[in-house]
């Protein structure tokens, strides 16, 4: 029933380096995420969470196994196909990674410019709408340097979601934020995702936000433990 699954990972392995220095960090990963599902992945540092996220996002190329994202197989895909695959996803990073020379509005519209199908005025209109949805209508023309950490992360969310991606990949989006803004940011992500019906895969160490998840998966030493009990014990 792959049609209902927006992410299907099957027997995925991944190693860094080659020869004697080769080090396997992911072992036989199997994971299916349904469309519209919010999945949180936790686990100790160095267990391979970020690596899995970058593989799913097409930021690095998968070597063995199978990796289907919204129906497209990206194992062994060409660089050109990977670039196109990336456009289907929204990314939210620990650091906001906004462009310092662009205003909040211009940063958000970059998420549309990459699609290459909308004219500038329309891009700006939608970006402004999106910023209003994350509660920043007063700040559209601010540069990142003039925004607080929580506001910057909200701009980053707006940038990730403005093109209505099918999948949002987030890596510790609240790590750099205080408790209150961290909560706000996660709530906004949750609400918008539910509204747009997009799938979220979120890596976090932050126990306070686990409640937004439909499902929690646990990564340890490069292996995924899906059983809820195990995940619960891990907590």
């Amino acid at each position: 029933m792959t049609q209902n699954h927006s992410i299907v990972v099957h027997q995925l392995n991944h190693s860094f380096g080659s020869g004697n220095l080769q080090k396997q960090v992911l072992f036989d990963i199997n994971l299916e995420i349904s469309a519209g599902e919010i999945v949180i992945m936790t686990g100790p540092s160095g267990s391979g969470k970020t690596t899995l996220l970058t593989l799913i996002g097409g930021l690095r190329s998968a070597q063995t196994g199978s990796l289907k994202v919204v129906g497209h197989e990206i194992t062994g895909a060409s660089e050109n196909d990977l670039v196109k695959a990336r456009r289907n996803n929204g990314y939210i990073f620990q650091a906001h990674n906004l462009h310092g020379s662009l205003t909040a509005l211009e940063n958000v519209q970059m998420g549309l410019e990459v699609q290459g199908n909308l004219a500038k005025p329309e891009r700006h209109r939608r970006a402004a709408e999106m910023l209003a949805q994350v509660g920043l209508e007063e700040r559209v023309n601010y540069y990142p340097a003039d925004l607080s950490g929580g506001q910057k992360q909200r701009v980053a969310i707006a940038r990730a979601l403005v093109s209505r991606p099918k999948i949002v990949l987030a890596d510790e989006p609240t790590a750099a934020l205080d408790k209150k803004s961290g909560r706000d940011v996660v709530d906004i992500m949750h609400d918008l995702a539910k509204q747009q019906g997009c799938t979220i895969l979120l890596v976090t160490h932050d126990n306070r936000i686990l409640d937004i998840a439909d499902r929690i998966v646990y990564m340890e030493d490069g292996r995924l433990l899906k059983q809820p009990e195990l995940a619960a014990i891990a907590q």
């Binding site: 970020t50 996220l53 970058t54 996002g57 930021l59 690095r60 670039v83 196109k84 695959a85 990336r86 456009r87 990314y91 990073f93 620990q94 650091a95 990674n97 906004l98 462009h99 310092g100 020379s101 662009l102 211009e106 519209q109 970059m110 998420g111 410019e113 990459v114 699609q115 004219a119 500038k120 540069y143 940038r159 890596d171």
Partner: protein, 394 residues
């Protein structure tokens, strides 16, 4: 055509990131502009000097009025023409199409600046006072005056302090000086300008010339001026003259003679090399500064660029940002460079009496060089873009 319109449309539709990045860091922008401006001024000055040198050393050849020119086969340039026998003129006059043949005498003299009493080297030109030799109206209006003994016309653009003397002359006062043992009187003023080798020039009659150069024989001519009958084809007559006259002289058209002079300067003097080297230095300084600025800029945006790539932007989009910066910098650096160079030309021209001018072609050349300069720097700087790996940003 349609493709071009489409490209332009997409260009106009994209966010001008290069421009915005430059605008965001004003200090970096100013550094880059200052560097390019400096490089451009340097190049403009070098090219200007080289050109002025070429021009100032060919001003009299350019001003010649004749259709054809005869010079010795051993002639090197206007300053070192050597001499040839005057009877070549008699032979020349037999050729159909030749209307007149006149000798011109040239020599270097020491004359005493009437104002400072200092000795300086001047080019002395002796011409037939009944036949204009140069396309210089001020000279041609005074040809009667130099028929009198020991009268000379003075180039008022000569290098040195002559302002009081010129003022005196214009007030109608008598101005005299010495050449060798003879006293000469200034009978008129004209304006051509100094060259690097001669501080200035005096024009007088052929008779006066021979008086001031007792060692020179009237039969030893520096340059022959041939005027043609109306309707005669210069190239045809030139070929005929060249065939008829002995090998100790060569016959050139007026333009051919100017080229001969230019050719000599270009091949015999290090001017081309020296000023070419100077221009190249300016260019390299520009490349280094622009490269520094652009690569720092790329480096400080690597995280943002990696993010863009993660979002699905292609590498070419990032290249476009650097190219855009290079183009913006070229234009912003070139304009002040041109303006300052124009001012510097005027100052230098006033101080040195060298003919420094800004032809449009040179401005275009330097603008093109600036684009190449910034483009080259940008191309080197983009190699840093490889470091923007989207997998490294999480």
């Amino acid at each position: 055509m349609l493709g071009l319109i489409k490209t332009l449309k997409t260009l106009g539709d994209r966010t001008p990131l290069g421009l915005k990045q430059l605008n965001h860091d004003r200090m970096r922008l100013l550094t880059a502009i200052a560097g390019i401006t400096f490089a451009d001024i340097l190049i403009f000055m070098q090219l200007g000097f080289a050109d002025a040198l070429y021009k100032s050393n060919t001003q009299y050849p350019r001003a010649l009025q004749s259709d054809l020119v005869i010079i010795s086969t051993q002639a090197k340039n206007f300053g070192q023409l050597r001499t040839f026998a005057r009877r070549r003129f008699l032979q020349a006059q037999d050729i159909p199409g030749v209307a007149s043949a006149e000798p011109l005498y040239l020599g270097s003299v020491n004359w005493r600046n009437p104002q400072t009493r200092k000795q300086t080297s001047m080019l002395l030109i002796g011409q037939n006072p009944s036949q204009p030799a140069f396309n210089l109206p001020d000279v041609n209006a005074k040809l009667d005056a130099i028929q009198l003994p020991d009268r000379v016309l003075f180039d008022q653009a000569s290098r040195g302090s002559y302002d009081e003397m010129i003022e005196q002359f214009k007030q109608g006062e008598r101005v005299t000086s010495e050449i060798g043992l003879r006293t000469v009187e200034v009978a008129g003023l004209f304006e051509v300008g100094a060259s690097f080798s001669e501080d200035g020039a005096l024009i007088t009659s052929d008779q006066n010339f021979l008086r001031l150069f007792p060692k020179r024989e009237a039969g030893a001519v520096s340059l022959g001026l041939i005027n043609l009958e109306p309707g005669a084809d210069p190239e045809q007559v030139r070929a005929e003259l060249a065939a008829r006259l002995p090998d100790d002289v060569q016959v050139l058209t007026k333009d051919g003679y100017v080229d001969f002079e230019l050719n000599d300067i270009q091949s015999e003097s290090p001017i081309g090399f020296v000023f070419g080297l100077g221009s190249a230095m300016g260019f390299i300084v520009g490349v280094v500064i622009v490269y520094q600025v652009l690569s720092t800029d790329v480096n400080s945006h690597l995280g943002e660029y990696a993010t863009f790539r993660a979002m699905g932007f292609r590498n070419s989009y990032l290249l476009g940002i650097v190219v855009e910066e290079a183009i913006v910098l070229s234009v912003l650096g070139f304009v002040p460079g041109l303006v300052i160079a124009l001012g510097a030309y005027q100052l230098t021209a006033a101080a040195t009496a060298l003919p420094l001018a800004m032809p449009v072609s040179r401005a275009i050349t330097v603008l093109a060089l600036t684009f190449v300069m910034c483009g080259a720097s940008g191309a080197i700087a983009t190699r840093r873009l490889q470091a923007a790996d989207p997998a490294d940003i999480f």
